[in-house]
Symmetry: none
Subunit: 173 residues, 4 copies
DNA sequence: GATGAATGAGGATTCATTCAT
DNA sequence: AATGAATGAATCCTCATTCAT
């Protein structure tokens, strides 16, 4: 990955997050990145190829967030940790996820359902806790997780802790 | 409102919901509506004017959903009712809200925050219930409400009742 | 067919004949025609659609050349007439056929084989003349017809009559 | 001439013959040749330089075809031989000539008129045969020669002998 | 109210070409 | 000799929008 390739990616993240995929021209991306427009196509083949790259990067980031889960064993701790994820994401991740959400409504692709990645872990945890309807509870958990993520993406709130406490209580965690 | 005007609106709702605002050309809308392209501009001035119309319609629909609330007095009943709203919306509303969500990420406009409309009622209800932190609880309630709406928009689920029960329990309703 | 549509077609014929299909940009065509570039695409969908139109027109012209054949009955007269066709085409037809020939090497399409249209008439005539191998003779006739057309397209010769006489002699016509 | 240079030339012949000069990008040529795109420009300066090389090669091939003529003395034999040339060319030559023909309509260059090379020999032969209008007959001969070449380039026919016989008869050869 | 011909700016993409290594 | 990253002009095409009828 050359330096200019990286600059393109970063400009794309910023611009797609601000003005959306369709609303961002490749020429602006190039200008912002200080790069010729042609280079975008050399590296990513397509404007869409550039988007695909961002999706791929998002997946990587999410996997990095899941990794620590492997070392946790207690189900309550696992669920706590998952619920805290949306409230702890950094600026770069926020932008990336904003891009994904902005595009999700045009592109019907399972890969867009980022949080689905957590489903197995959540289900397994509720089972371990002997919840009487773990499947429903998992669905609700995911819905709330998504609501939280959406809130964070749009509000840059400071009271993450307060929000988290409130949510934990709802799930007796 | 002429018949052709209505056809334009309906085509716009369907197409914007499917392929997004930017992804839908005025020419396709016209073709779908069986109407000349020029007519769209006669009636709505702009492609954006057409979108504004859809937003306006969405607001109307939401107000229709809030109206019954005026006749309810018991706070628990009010909150129950609000939570049930996303789970009971019809096909047309679903499409409209999908349009709004698809556009929300490019257009930073308070009017896009549809559910904010319910905030006063929710806050008032939690206060009436003597909740010890009604403001936080309202925020959480709204987050979950949005998570629910998102889920409904994307999954056309059949078990609305199950989901609702599960959510009510979380708020002791 | 509007006036501007016609202007586009004429500019296309001239430019394609001069600089080839690939060598002619839609923007030059538009400029030459005194028309906005977009109009080309409104009317012909594609640059290729414009080419298709020219091919279609060429076919029409050829059919107009064949029509008089229906009224001829004597096989020798028919063959004479066909051989004279390349030598009598006008300026506009010359340009059109030049376009077709210029494009024929990239596009492998039966429709490009203009002279094939005459094959049935030629074969029928040689049969009527009791030629001992009418199929071979037809092939040779077509080869020579094409050689003649090519010569005319590239040389704007004045001695059509001389050439024709020479050819007629070869076929005992 | 390095091995890679040769590979470039061969790829160019194949691709230009298939999709035309304009229709073939230097990048495809490079890919097909298994070579970096830059190398094309190192060796041939230009895309056009590459074409010039192919034209040059074509001339060589034609000269190789003419050479045996020097050893022939009888005019009828000479004309026979010339007429047989288009019917005996190999695959590689076919492709090369197809390239030339494809480009001939854009580039107005005498060098494109391949068969002109034979003119002196043909004229001289008809004179030796005491033809009463050797100039006209030469022109006709060249026209037919070109028609034959065109036929061969487009039809990969198997009955070369039959065609040749038929042509010879037309010239009393 | 309605049409459809016409516009022109802007968009994604391709392509020949250069240059440092 | 050979690579491959990088360029920027040019190309085809789309799209919102206007206007005469």
């Amino acid at each position: 990955m050359t330096e200019k390739e990286l600059k393109i990616i970063n400009s794309a993240i910023n611009l797609f997050a601000q003005t959306g995929y369709d609303g961002t021209s490749t020429s602006i991306i190039a200008k912002e990145a200080g790069v010729s427009e042609g280079l975008i196509f050399k590296h990513f083949k397509n404007k869409n190829g550039l988007l695909e790259k961002l999706i791929e990067i998002s997946k990587e980031k999410l996997k990095d967030m899941i990794n620590p889960l492997q070392e946790l064993s207690h189900p309550k701790v696992i669920l706590k940790y998952i619920l805290s994820i949306p409230l702890n994401i950094g600026q770069q991740e926020k932008k990336l996820f904003t891009v994904i959400y902005g595009v999700r409504w045009q592109i019907n692709d399972k890969r867009m359902d980022l949080l689905k990645l957590f489903e197995p872990k959540i289900l397994e945890s509720f089972k371990a806790l002997n919840h009487n309807d773990p499947i429903s509870e998992t669905r609700t958990f995911l819905m709330i997780l998504e609501g939280t993520l959406l809130y964070v993406l749009q509000n840059d709130s400071q009271d993450s802790l307060l929000i988290l406490d409130n949510l934990l209580e709802k799930f007796n965690l």
